[in-house]
Symmetry: C2
Subunit: 213 residues, 2 copies
DNA sequence: TAGATTGTTAATCGATTAACAATC
DNA sequence: TAGATTGTTAATCGATTAACAATC
C-alpha cells in the first residue's frame, strides 16, 4: 500500500535541477517535452531522467512525453516547495544578510521570520524588514513561533552549540554555512551542510589540471 | 613516466573535505593519524580514504599512518591552494559583497583584485578595499591584469553573455552563482556552478520525508 | 492505425568496501 | 621482533545506460 522504496540521495539532489529547467521551460511557454529533448538541454541521458522520475511515479505519457507544467508542479510537491516553510537566520554577518535579502527564496515559499546575532551593535537593525534579535532571545522566540528551518551563517566555533540549542527547541532543518560539518544524530532534525570554499577549491584543482594537459 | 590515470570527479570533490579535517587536526596539534581514526571523525570508511589518497600517491607509512601536517600540505598542493590565484567579482549585490568580505578566501591564496557591476550608483564604492568598476571597463582591466578566476554573482539573464566575454578575455575559471548552469565548452576554461537554492530544496525534501516516517 | 515515447527490466559501468600481503 | 597500518587487489554494491515491450 505504502510504497516505501527509499529514493537514493543522488536522485534527490538532481530534483532541484529538474525543477529549475522545467520552470524555465514553463516560463518560456513550452507545453510538453520528451525525456530525450530535456536530456539534451540538461546534458544528461534520457534514461536517467526517466529512471529518476519513475522513483516518484509515472508522470509521462507514452508517445507524448511530459507535460511541462504538470511535471514542474509534481517535482515542486516532492521537494515540498508548494507548502510554506518558515525560516530564521542565525548570524547577521555578510552572508546572513545576503541570504536575508535574497528574494527568490520568498518566492519559493520560504518565509524569513527572524534574524539573530550576538553582536549588540546589530540588535534592532533591520534587514529586509526583519529586526535583528539577540541570540539569547531564541528560546523565547521559539515559544511563540516555531520556525521550520534555521540558517546558520555563524563561525564554526559556535556552530555545534547553536545547532544543539536549535535541535532542543525543535527546529526541523538546519541549513549550515559554518565551515564545519554538522551531523546531529537526533531523529527528526535534518541537516544540509554547505561548504562554499569546497567548491572554490574544486575549481582551483580543475584549473591546475588544465595547465598540465 | 607521466602517470595519467585521470582521477574521477567524485574523488576530487572529497579532497576539500579532507583538507578541512586535516587543517583542523593540525591546528589542534595532532601529529599523526591513521586512516581508521580519520575515517571515524569524518564518518566515511578507512578504505575510501586510503583509496582516495592513493590516486595521488603514497602519503602514508605502514604501521604508522599519515603525518597530518605533511598530508595537509600535499592535499593543499593538489588543490592548488599553495599557489596564489587572483580573482574578480562580477556583480556587487548582496552575495558579491558577502564573498568580497569573506576573509578566509584570502587566507587560502585567493586574492581579490577587482569588482565589477553595471549599476552606476555602485561604481567607485569600496568593498573590502576594492573599488567597484563599471562592467564596461572589464576588457581594459584584463589588458593590465589577468585574473585567474571570475566569480559571477549576477542575475541569470546576463550570465551567458558575461561568461562568454570572460572566456574571450582569457579567464581560467568561472565560479558561477547565477541561477543557471554554465557550460562553456571552450578548452581551458573551467566552471563550477553553485546553486544555493538546490541545497535548500534538498533540505525541504528531507524535512518532508521526516514527517511521513 | 502508425509513430513516438514512456515505464521498466536487464546489462554495464563505476564507485565503494573488504581483505590481505607488504612493510614500516 | 611483533604489532600496526598502509597500499593495492579482488569482491560487492549501487548507479547509470541500453534496450524494448507496453501503450498513448
Amino acid at each position: 500500500m505504502n510504497e516505501m522504496k527509499k529514493v537514493s540521495l543522488v536522485v534527490i539532489r538532481r530534483l532541484p535541477r529538474y525543477y529549475r529547467y522545467l520552470t524555465e521551460l514553463k516560463e518560456s511557454g513550452v507545453v510538453r517535452i520528451s525525456s530525450k529533448a530535456l536530456a539534451e538541454k540538461m546534458r544528461v541521458t534520457a534514461s536517467q531522467i526517466r529512471q529518476d522520475l519513475n522513483c516518484f511515479g509515472g508522470f509521462g505519457q507514452q508517445g507524448y512525453g511530459y507535460n511541462v507544467s504538470q511535471l514542474q508542479t509534481a517535482i515542486g510537491d516532492i521537494l515540498g516547495l508548494n507548502e510554506s516553510h518558515t525560516t530564521i537566520i542565525i548570524g547577521a554577518g555578510n552572508l546572513g544578510r545576503a541570504i536575508a535579502n535574497y528574494g527568490s527564496f520568498e518566492k519559493r515559499g520560504y518565509k524569513l521570520i527572524g534574524i539573530f546575532d550576538n553582536n549588540k551593535d546589530l540588535i534592532g537593525q533591520e534587514i529586509n524588514k526583519i529586526k535583528v534579535s539577540h541570540i539569547d532571545t531564541l528560546e523565547e522566540f521559539f515559544q511563540k513561533q516555531k520556525p521550520d528551518i534555521a540558517i546558520l551563517t555563524i563561525p564554526k566555533e559556535v556552530a555545534v552549540e547553536i545547532a544543539q540549542k536549535l535541535t532542543q527547541l525543535g527546529v526541523r532543518g538546519i541549513w549550515n554555512f559554518s565551515n564545519m560539518d554538522l551531523h546531529m544524530s537526533v531523529e527528526g532534525v535534518e541537516i544540509e551542510n554547505v561548504h562554499l570554499s569546497d567548491s572554490l577549491m574544486t575549481l582551483s584543482y580543475k584549473i591546475g589540471q588544465g595547465v598540465k594537459k
